[in-house]
Every structure is written in C-alpha cells, then in structure tokens.
C-alpha cells in the first residue's frame, strides 16, 4: 500500500559533507535527443558538403541554363540528377543548400565565438574591477542594446561596404557579417558574466587569492573564469540559433553573402523572387532547413539552460 517508489525523485538527501553540483542522473527527453540528432546531422552534412554534395554549386562554369528552374526529382518534370530541383541559374539546390548551411553555421558559430570571447573578457573586467571600468563597459553595452540587432548589423555592414569596397566579396563578407552580429551579441555575455563575477568575487576563495597577492589577471583567468562559464555555454547555444537567423536575414536583405557563394539566407532571397511564379522550391527547401536547424539548436539550448540551473528540481 505504501509503495516506496512513489517518491522516486533524485533530490539530494541530507549528507554529512554536502556535495553541491553533483552530476545529476536524469533522463534526457526524447525531443532533446531529436533536436541534437537533427543539429548533428545538418552540421555533419554541412561540414562534409564538398564530399557528399552531388554538384559543386560554387563552380559557375558548370551551371547550364538549360537546367534552370528544374523542379525537384519527385515531381513529374523533375530530373533525377537534381534531387531538390535547381535555381534560376541551373544550380543544384540540394548542393547549394549543403554549402549554404555550411556558410550559415560557420558565420553563426563565428559570431557566437567572437561575441562570447569579447563579452566574457569585458564582463570579467567589469565585474572584478568595478568602478569606472564597469560603468564604461556596461553603459556602452546599454547603448548598443538600445539598437535593434538587425539595424545595427545593417549599419555596420553598410558602413563596411562603403569604406571597404571588397566587403561584399565571398572572401570578406563572412568577416563583416561576424563582426556585424557580434557587435550586438557580446553585451548579453558581458552582463551575465559580470553578475556572476561579482558573486564569485565576494566569495572567500577569491578573497584568499587576493590576500595571497596573486595578480588580478591571474585571479580572473584562473579562479573566477571557470566558475562563471556554465551560463555562458547556455547563452552561446541559444545565441547560435539567433546568429544563424540574423545572418540569414542580412543575406536575405542583400547585405550578406553574395549570390555566387550563397548562404541559406541568400538562397531564400533568390527563391523569394520566384515563389509567385510557381517555382516554390528554391525558397521553401532552404527555409525549411533553416527552420529545422534553428529549432533543433533552440531545443538543445533550452534544455542545457535547465540542466545547468542549480535550482532545478528533478521532476
């Protein structure tokens, strides 16, 4: 009658030496596994694009206008060489998508990496040093956050193109895009890390390191940094999806990757011109891939956030 299994929940019992942050045993929900698998598959396919893509979408010379606007292979007029059809230049859409995902993920990941690095460093400095350093960094961050991401990114890439003619080429566009996205995103990392740093700085182990006479740089890098990183990992995951979307938006607006080296956003922009002429596939497939990728990353990121939350009670 009083089955003990009713209360099966991994809550830490009273222990003589409480071990906080013990690895919690838990079951990973199916949706998260699904999300992770989707992200992994897309990521792998994008990374291995040169080897698995049936055509080379970057080689303009190989396009044949006779193949232009070919519907997907499963449709009546489809051609078995082009699984998902071709675009207006006769480029294989499936290959273009693989290469496009590669560009999107690289730029999104690059932006996250830059933003996280800058944000963590500035957040550490602001939180540990305080005073005018803190005030300066955080007010600059406030100003930046008061502008919408896209507006700021448009501004940055617009200015970059104006002063630097090569900014629109396949070689330089990714760098500009990464910068344009990261300039907005770092603030979030800086704020989070600053708050966590202030909490850690008041703890005795940091005070002990200060009494020992260790230099500030060393205290920040060696003692505080490892203890403030877990929220950064979570934000980075969630922001990866946002960065991929921002890149797609910029490319869609025509200030991102050039049509000769398309990202998913560029492909959607190209396809957008043809949607109403019945050539729906050019926009739809890249858009679907983008949605699935962003959704997968978001699901994994949300779960990571819950998993790292120390207040999380197991259900």
């Amino acid at each position: 009658m009083s089955a003990p299994s009713i209360e099966a929940a991994p809550v830490l019992a009273e222990a003589p030496a409480p071990a906080p942050r013990k690895r919690r045993r838990m079951r990973i929900p199916a949706s998260v596994i699904g999300g992770a698998v989707v992200v992994l598959v897309i990521g792998l396919a994008a990374a291995l694009a040169p080897w698995i893509a049936p055509h080379n979408p970057l080689d303009v010379g190989s396009f044949d206008l006779l193949n232009a606007e070919m519907p997907p292979a499963f449709m009546a007029e489809g051609d078995s060489r082009f699984w998902l059809g071709t675009d207006n230049q006769g480029r294989d859409l499936f290959s273009a998508m693989l290469y496009g995902a590669r560009v999107s993920i690289a730029i999104g990941g690059g932006a996250v990496l830059v933003a996280a690095t800058v944000g963590v460093i500035l957040g550490l400095l602001a939180g540990y040093l305080g005073g005018w350093v803190d005030a300066l960094i955080m007010r600059v961050g406030d100003v930046i956050l008061s502008l919408p991401t896209i507006l700021l990114a448009l501004l940055v890439s617009g200015v970059a193109r104006a002063v630097f003619p090569e900014a629109g080429t396949a070689q330089w566009a990714p760098v500009i895009l990464i910068g344009a996205i990261a300039i907005h995103e770092w603030v979030q990392y800086a704020r989070t890390v600053r708050a966590a740093t202030m909490v850690e700085s008041s703890k005795d182990y940091v005070r002990a390191a200060r009494v020992m006479g260790l230099p500030s740089i060393r205290i920040m890098a060696r003692h505080i940094l490892p203890n403030v990183l877990s929220p950064v990992i979570v934000i980075a995951t969630i922001n990866l999806a946002a960065a991929v979307l921002t890149e797609a938006t910029l490319s869609f607006l025509g200030v991102g990757m050039p049509p000769t080296y398309p990202s998913l956003g560029t492909l959607i922009r190209i396809g957008n011109e043809f949607v109403f002429s019945g050539i729906w596939w050019i926009a739809t497939f890249p858009a679907a891939l983008l949605v699935v990728l962003v959704l997968g990353v978001n699901i994994v990121g949300d779960w990571l956030r819950d998993w790292f939350n120390p207040k999380r009670q197991a259900r």
Binding site: S2, V11, A13, E14, A15, V211, G213
Partner: protein, 575 residues
C-alpha cells in the same frame, strides 16, 4: 486568550516513540537519518536536542513540522502531539497542521519573514486561516502577541515591514507567529545561532518565559551547549541518528555517561579556565610529525620575511560616500574609527565584538581587502604598499570553509599555486611536494591533494585552507572566525591545530571571533571592539578576571556557558 482547551496535566506536549526516518532511492539501501529515537516533552518543558552536523536533529524537527523532503520518509515509530496521535503510515506526518499544532521558529530571522508583507498581515494570515478569526479579532490578537514577545511600541511595529526591524525584533515576531494559534509544541531550530550574544540572551529569556507562562512545550534544536545549559530543562544528545543520552540538563551535561556525550561536552571551550589544549583526540602520527618538522625548517630558514610584528595605528575605514558620478554623494559609514594596536611576533591577538562592530573590517584592511581612509598598517616595520599588499608575508584564513576553496581546482593545484607563484619551489613538482607536506602537517593524508574540495567535510576544508595559507610561508596570519561554522569537536581540533602551528613556526596571528570562550582559549591578548572602536585591550587573563569596561562586563555576563552546570574539573595540565 486561549481559544482551545489545554490538555490535562500529565499529557505530554510531544511524545516520540522509536522514530526512524530513512532517506534513499528505491533499489538502493536506505540511509537512516534518524534511527529508533524516542523523546518526551511535557507542557512547559524546554527540551534541547543537540548533536553535530549529520546527527539527525534537524530531521526530527522537520518530521514534526511536516517538512520532510521527498526521498526522506518515516519508516517506523509514532508521534503524539498533545495527546493527539499522528498518522505516519504514509511515510510522513498526516494530520499535523504546521502553525496550528506545531509552531516553528527558524534559524535566520532575516529570511523567515516575507519581506513584501507587513508584520501585521503575516501574523494575521495564519490566525485567520487556522482559527477562522475575523480581521478585527486577528488584529487584536496580533497586538496582544506583539506585547507578549516584548516588542516596544507594538502598534507602530505591526505596520512595519520586516526590513524595518532589527534581527532580534524580527526573531521576536517569528516567535509571535509561532505562538499565534496557541500550539502545544514549538519547534525552535537553532533560534539564536544567527544572533549576537546580547540579543541571544534576550531571545532565550523570552522562550523560557513563554514556556513557563503558557505551558507550551519547546523542542530546542541547537549545537550550542551554552544555550542548552542556560534555558533547557532536559536534553537529548544524538549521534548519527541515534539517541545516545537523554535526561535532565544538569545530569547529562554535568556527568555524561556515554563516551560520545563526554567527548562532545569536553570539546566545548571553557570561558572560565584557560587550558593549553582543548579536549580533542590527538592527531600526532609519524607522518604528520615529520611533515611538521619540514614545515618548521622551511619557515624558520626563510629569512626574507623575518619579523612578524604588526602595528596598526589610528586605522579608519569608511564605506560608501564615494561616487564617481558627479552630484551623487552618499554619507559615508565609518566602520572602523581610529583603531590602534600592535601584535608581537609569535603572539595570538584576539579581536572580539558583536556583529557590525567593525572587527572583520579591521581584518580586511590589514589583509588589503579594504582600503583604509586614514591610519597606518605596518608589518615587520614595513608599511603596506599602495595597493594594500603584503606580498606573501601575510595570509588569511576565512570563516566559511565551503566558499574558501575554489570548487574547480584540485586541492594540490590550489595549494601549490602560491608556492610556485612566489618561486618558493624550483619546479612544479617540488611545489606539489611542498603542498603534500603541508597537507600532512595539517593532519590530512597527502593523497587528499588529488581530490576536489567538495569531497571534504567542513573541518577538512578548513584544514586545507590553513595549509594553503601556510604555503607562501607567511609571518602573520589573519584568522577571521575560523571555527564559527564548524561543529564543536571539529572546532576543538582546528583551534589546537592553529595553536600548534603558532608554537611550531613562531607565526603571529590576529584571531577574530564573537565567541568569548574560544578567544579565551586561543589568545594571548584581546581587544574588545564596539561600534568601530576598541573599548578595552588587555591580556587574556586580566580581561576575563577583571574586565574594566562596562561593555566587556556585559559581553562576559551574557555569554552562554556551561558554568552554571558543575563540570568535571579541568585536566591537570590546565593553566
């Protein structure tokens, strides 16, 4: 004013029979937090439940209040509150209404009141819910309760929010809330641990008076033997979930029979007599002795940091009042107001006072963690640098051993870091070896270095923190309440260790504590601080035998101690 009939005389307020509480997942062997424990509290009786961390005393309190957490469940035994049997068949206490049958007083009055509601609404809420009183009746009763717990100007205080009251007043409000539905039993879990001695004395007096006047039974969960001696009638000592001894306070504390009870009571520092060492098991092992000899040689051979005398001259530290924004200046709070003292080489200098008196700020200023506004601090004749650093000559041991160690660094890494930084060892391997020797010298195994801090108990962590402080071979050590978060028996060991290290290396120490008995056992000279100033400075014996200042006398008279109970005479080596 009681709306419910009191139980007839002779019916216990609480009767626990063979209670067992187990924690554990299904499929794993359960861990018994409480095993076969029995105790009885008569109306008007204060029954103390004592034991060290992990003894299960808080679990008993939680079981009574229906606060047992999920994997914990009552697996055997019965509970009767005021003659009313409690159903424990489902693993928890069915039928107990917290607030109505059992009143609760928690440790921290800062967090046990909701900051968003007035005192009145918090007091009235439970009464209106449980006793179905009208608003007016509840308010009248709230006022009555506020008077009963001795809060001045109760009408005005009822309209206040918790942050507008002092810690002592808040704890009085919590007691009023516990009494509001006229329970027959109050569970007080460490009710005075977060309070200063003077406030503690008042709260204990209040609890005693309420038990006497209202005939309510009190289960007082505490680790402080002085508190037990002062207010309790009966006491139960627990060890690892079992009751090892139970009986009237005078009998149990005066002449304990169980060996654990004897060692527990023996480990309590005495305020009346100074002893060379506290009673704790000897830790001398060949490995520890050898390690200590190495540490002694290293520290005495180190001439670079000779001396160790500390001079503090007219120290002033202020908080606030400084703002980099123009037009925004707050009034500065003077935490330390012209403090001067000197510490001789090899001396342990005590600094005592209540919370907020500025003693920790003095320590922070000396350690370079707070910037003095005025005054001079000289260590071995050298003024501290512009950035407030002494280099390696001064190290610090902190209060909370759980936050004093970086959770992400292995113990050996944490210990060898300062050694390598100051180039006291030629190579990384030598620094790691020095770290291992230090671990042995503080009574740990050298293999402890392989592990992360969370693998250790509070006392072990404090040993690691001490070893870390010794690493840079300092001449001066600041100890800020190094044992106040530890159990008594562990406290005794740590205090003995600090004393041994002083004797071994000739290190000087500034020892900060609010516990007068601990200070008496540890220190050669003592300064008493009040409101940022030193009010009395004397050598330990003089201060305790003939206190000059009124504040010192008050502190000494309020400190709860075991002296009211006749204790076994001090061992022969007592000074």
């Amino acid at each position: 004013m009681s709306s419910r009939p009191r139980p007839t005389a002779g019916v216990p307020a609480l009767d626990i029979r063979n209670l067992t509480v187990e924690y554990g997942q299904p499929g794993e062997p359960p861990m018994a937090a409480v095993l076969d424990a029995s105790l009885t509290i008569m109306p008007g009786e204060i029954h103390a439940l004592v034991g060290e961390s992990g003894a299960g005393k808080t679990t008993v309190g939680n079981a009574l209040m229906g606060l047992l957490q999920a994997p914990g469940r009552i697996t055997a035994g019965g509970i009767t509150i005021g003659g009313k049997a409690v159903d424990t068949r489902t693993g928890r206490t069915e039928g107990i209404t917290p607030g109505l049958d059992v009143g609760a007083i928690f440790q921290d009055p800062m967090t046990s009141l909701n900051p968003l509601f007035t005192i009145e609404s918090q007091l009235c809420e439970t009464m209106r819910h449980h006793l179905k009183l009208s608003r007016a009746a509840a308010q009248a009763r709230a006022l009555e309760l506020m008077r009963a717990v001795g809060i001045p100007e109760p009408e005005r205080r009822l309209k206040c929010y918790p942050h507008q009251l002092s810690g002592g007043q808040r704890q009085r409000v919590v007691i009023a809330a516990a009494l509001s539905c006229d329970p027959q039993l109050i569970v007080a879990d460490e009710p005075t641990t977060a309070l200063d001695v003077s406030v503690q004395a008042q709260i204990l007096k209040l609890i005693r008076a309420l038990a006497d006047e209202r005939g309510v039974g009190v289960l007082l969960v505490t680790h402080n033997m002085g508190v037990v001696a002062q207010v309790a009638d009966t006491v139960t000592i627990m060890l690892k979930g079992r009751v090892v001894e139970s009986g009237p306070v005078a009998q149990v504390l005066g002449a304990p029979r169980h060996p654990y009870a004897r060692s527990l009571i023996g480990a309590v520092p005495r305020i009346d007599v100074r002893m060379n060492r506290l009673q704790a098991p000897s830790e001398a092992t060949p490995a520890a002795d050898a390690a200590r000899e190495i540490v002694r040689k290293q520290m005495t051979a180190d001439t670079a940091a000779a001396g160790g005398a500390l001079e503090v001259e007219n120290l002033v530290v202020e908080y606030g009042g400084r703002s980099w924004l123009p037009g925004r200046s707050a009034k500065a709070f003077r935490a330390v107001d012209g403090v001067s003292f000197t510490v001789q080489p090899g001396e342990i200098f005590g600094l005592v006072g209540e919370s907020g008196c500025g003693k920790t700020t003095v320590a922070n200023a000396i350690a370079g963690l707070a910037t003095p506004k005025d005054g001079a601090i000289r260590l071995s004749g050298r003024e501290i640098g512009a950035r407030g650093k002494h280099g390696r000559a001064l190290q610090m041991v902190f209060q909370d051993p759980y936050s004093a160690l970086n959770p992400r660094l292995r113990v050996s890494t944490a210990l060898s870091e300062p050694i390598a930084f100051y180039k006291l060892a030629a190579t990384r391997a030598e620094a790691a070896e020095d770290a291992a020797v230090l671990l042995e010298a503080v009574g740990l195994d050298r293999s402890a270095g392989e592990r992360f801090p969370h693998a250790f108990s509070g006392g072990q962590r404090q040993r690691i923190a001490i070893a870390r402080a010794l690493g840079p071979r300092p001449r001066f050590m600041v100890c800020d309440e190094p044992t106040s978060s530890l159990d008594v028996s562990v406290q005794a060991q740590i205090l003995n260790l600090l004393k041994d290290l002083r004797d071994l290396t000739g290190l000087s120490m500034l020892f900060i504590s609010h516990d007068l008995a601990v200070v008496r056992q540890m220190c050669d000279r003592i300064a008493v601080m009040q409101a940022g100033k030193i009010v009395e400075l004397a050598d330990a014996e003089t201060l305790f035998r003939a206190p000059q200042h009124a504040y010192t006398r008050e502190l000494l008279s309020l400190a709860p101690s075991l002296d009211s109970i006749a204790r076994a005479p001090a061992p022969a080596h007592g000074a």
